[in-house]
């Protein structure tokens, strides 16, 4: 694969990740920030390279996995390297890596699988120089699909790890 093709793939993946995850990090039940509350985070201007919106939409906050796997594809590694360099530039952001699974598995196994995926991303970011103290992980198993349908395209989108940044 030549460099140009790779670059196009990365751009395509970033665009895909961005439209897959328009909500950024908020809107989850009791997510990290308070008991049972809904976290509210100012996302900022997506054109501002220091903003959360820029991270979510331009860098891309999501990587995807194959069935039952936590292996990082070359594409996923590229996204995570870009995430890491951004996170290293802006050390004021805290990081929560969410691991998710598709619905084609049992509930408990999927929680464990999501934990494995989130840990894999965490380990990759740490290897890229992001401070371990900034990163927490959580697994949602199959409880929070981003796409809802009983088809391959939804299962593919739902096997994911999302890097959620907050101040």
């Amino acid at each position: 694969m030549n460099t140009l093709t790779k670059a196009i793939l990365v751009v395509a993946a970033l665009a895909l990740a961005a439209c897959n995850n328009p909500r950024g990090g908020d809107g989850m039940d009791g997510m990290g920030t308070g008991a049972g509350g809904i976290a509210s985070t100012a996302l900022g201007d997506p054109n501002d390279p220091t903003s959360i919106a820029y991270f979510n939409e331009t860098i891309g906050d999501t990587v995807n996995f194959t069935v039952d796997s936590s292996d990082l594809s070359p594409l996923a590694q590229n996204i995570l390297r870009t995430q890491a360099s951004w996170l290293n530039r802006f050390p004021e952001y805290q990081i929560l890596v969410e691991g998710h699974a598709d619905e084609r598995g049992t509930r408990e196994y999927n929680v464990a699988l999501g934990a494995r995926r989130a840990a894999r991303v965490q380990q990759f970011l740490i290897a890229e120089g992001v401070s371990a103290a900034r990163i927490r992980t959580v697994s949602y198993g199959k409880e929070r699909p981003i796409e809802v349908c009983a088809e391959q395209r939804c299962w593919d989108a739902n096997r994911r790890a999302v890097t959620v940044v907050s101040r």
């Binding site: 809107g27 989850m28 039940d29 009791g30 997510m31 990290g32 920030t33 308070g34 008991a35 049972g36 509350g37 039952d68 936590s70 619905e103 084609r104 598995g105 049992t106 509930r107 408990e108 196994y109 929680v111 464990a112 699988l113 934990a115 494995r116 995926r117 989130a118 840990a119 894999r120 965490q122 380990q123 927490r136 959580v138 697994s139 949602y140 409880e143 929070r144 699909p145 981003i146 796409e147 809802v148 009983a150």
Partner: protein
């Protein structure tokens, strides 16, 4: 909603004046479940006779609850009242068996109800219509009026036992997850109901995602996993007071998949840290915890054997998930699932002789049972997504979650023979059932 658990039955009293009839030479009616009943046995259960004015409102309702239980087993088929020729107008008058033979009833349940203030007395008798024999003694159950459903369930358990020779399962409850809202932001509340779907109570308010509640061996406590703090953690709840506490984790850990030991004193569960998921035990009295498995793999969904000496669980240590058993002290785990596909959520039967599981194979999900050494695997169901079996208190019926494409999940039950697949009524979408023992 009345909380019946706070107003238990006063007791189970045999009616002193009710004597068993002389046994006739003929074989009494007996339903052999193990040999497989294909044709349900026809029976009649007229409204219970009110013995005073206040008893009137209960006579029909109690008979309906019992009929729903009995017919729901798939072993019996009710002959509707509209087809009855005979009438039961007095509990103690001789039964005119010819009237019940005329409509081809094999069994007949008669009963009477008397209410005094808060007190309810229910009497019943069970007859083999063909031989004209009474099956067992007449029995009187006394309780409070607001426990009338529980009395009806206890009568149902008595009838079931007399007909099949096995303990019943009707006076029991189910905890489950009541679901609502959009699929990508689902609201999931811990809820509890009678095994027939009546009397739903919500145990959590739904502000935090919760899943997989599990009853204690005495039915007075539950374990479940909730995201109240944003991370999956195990909660122990006292059902009567609704008080709950977090158990079993330390900062940076995720805990889930808890189950009680048979003595209720220990919890086995999964703990994830750094992407590894291992099994742990926690002594509830001392708070001491210890690690059972130490693989890099996913070890989850543990369940105790009823003797408390072994657990079964699933692990992907050799690739796709399989079912293993091991001693509660830890040590070597033995793989018992041998077929093709992925095996998950093993649950030991209350009788100790079988393990129910979820199997994923060729894009379908199944609920199945196997012997505890992995032999005699039988798949009972198949669908887009069947998962999470739980045993009835007598080990005869399995309840589980079913989801078909584009539809909400619901609770289903199936006999361990694979027959009598039924949907359990719930107010809305429901998942993750856990069956209580028979209530004390």
């Amino acid at each position: 909603m009345t909380d019946l658990s706070r107003r238990p039955l006063l007791g189970l009293l045999a009616g002193a004046a009710i004597a068993p009839r002389m046994a006739l030479a003929q074989q009494p009616l007996r339903i052999e479940i193990t040999e497989g009943v294909i044709e349900p046995v026809p029976y009649a259960i007229p409204d219970f006779v009110p013995e005073n004015g206040a008893g009137g409102e209960y006579g029909a309702q109690i008979a309906r609850v019992i009929a729903n239980n009995l017919s729901g087993t798939g072993l019996l088929r009710e002959i509707p009242a509209s087809a009855h020729v005979g009438r039961i107008t007095s509990f103690d008058s001789p039964v005119q068996f010819a009237d019940w033979r005329a409509i081809n009833a094999r069994a007949l349940v008669t009963g009477a109800v008397r209410a005094n203030g808060q007190q309810l007395s229910v009497k019943f008798r069970l007859f083999d219509v063909v031989s004209g024999q009474q099956l067992g003694d007449g029995l009187q159950l006394d309780g409070q009026t607001n426990a009338w459903r529980r009395i009806a369930h206890r009568v149902s358990d008595q009838i079931y036992m007399r007909l099949t020779g096995e303990t019943g399962y009707f006076d029991s409850r189910v905890v489950f997850i009541a679901e609502s809202g959009p699929r990508n932001a689902r609201r999931k509340q811990v809820a509890m109901m009678d095994q027939d779907g009546d009397g739903v109570q919500f145990l959590t308010d739904g502000s935090a995602l919760a899943f997989a509640p599990r009853f204690s061996p005495t039915g007075d406590r539950i374990l479940f996993t909730s995201y109240e703090t944003g991370f999956p953690r195990i909660y122990l709840m006292d059902v009567a007071s609704r008080r709950r506490q977090v158990i079993g984790d330390q900062p940076g850990e995720m805990t889930f998949a808890p189950r009680f030991s048979p003595d209720g004193g220990t919890v086995v569960y999964s703990l994830s840290v750094d992407g590894r998921t291992d099994l742990y035990m926690l002594n509830l009295a001392s708070g001491q915890r210890w690690q059972l498995t130490t693989t890099d793999a996913i070890d989850t969904a543990p369940s105790f054997a009823p003797n408390g000496q072994q657990i079964c669980f699933e692990s992907d240590r050799t690739g796709a998930s399989q079912i293993y058993t091991m001693n509660v002290q830890g040590g070597q785990a033995y793989r018992i699932s041998q077929g093709q596909g992925r095996y998950s959520t093993p649950v030991w039967s209350p009788r100790g002789d079988m393990i129910a599981f979820t199997k994923q194979h060729n894009g379908r999900f199944h609920i199945g049972v196997m012997r505890t050494d992995g032999s005699n695997e039988r798949l009972l169901t198949a669908s887009y997504l069947d998962e999470g079996p739980t045993w009835s208190p007598n080990g005869r019926v399995i309840m589980f979650t079913r989801e078909e494409p584009g539809t909400d999940p619901s609770l289903m039950s199936v006999d361990i023979t694979g027959r009598n697949l039924r949907r359990i009524p719930t107010p809305g979408p429901a998942s993750d059932p856990s069956w209580s023992p028979l209530l004390p």
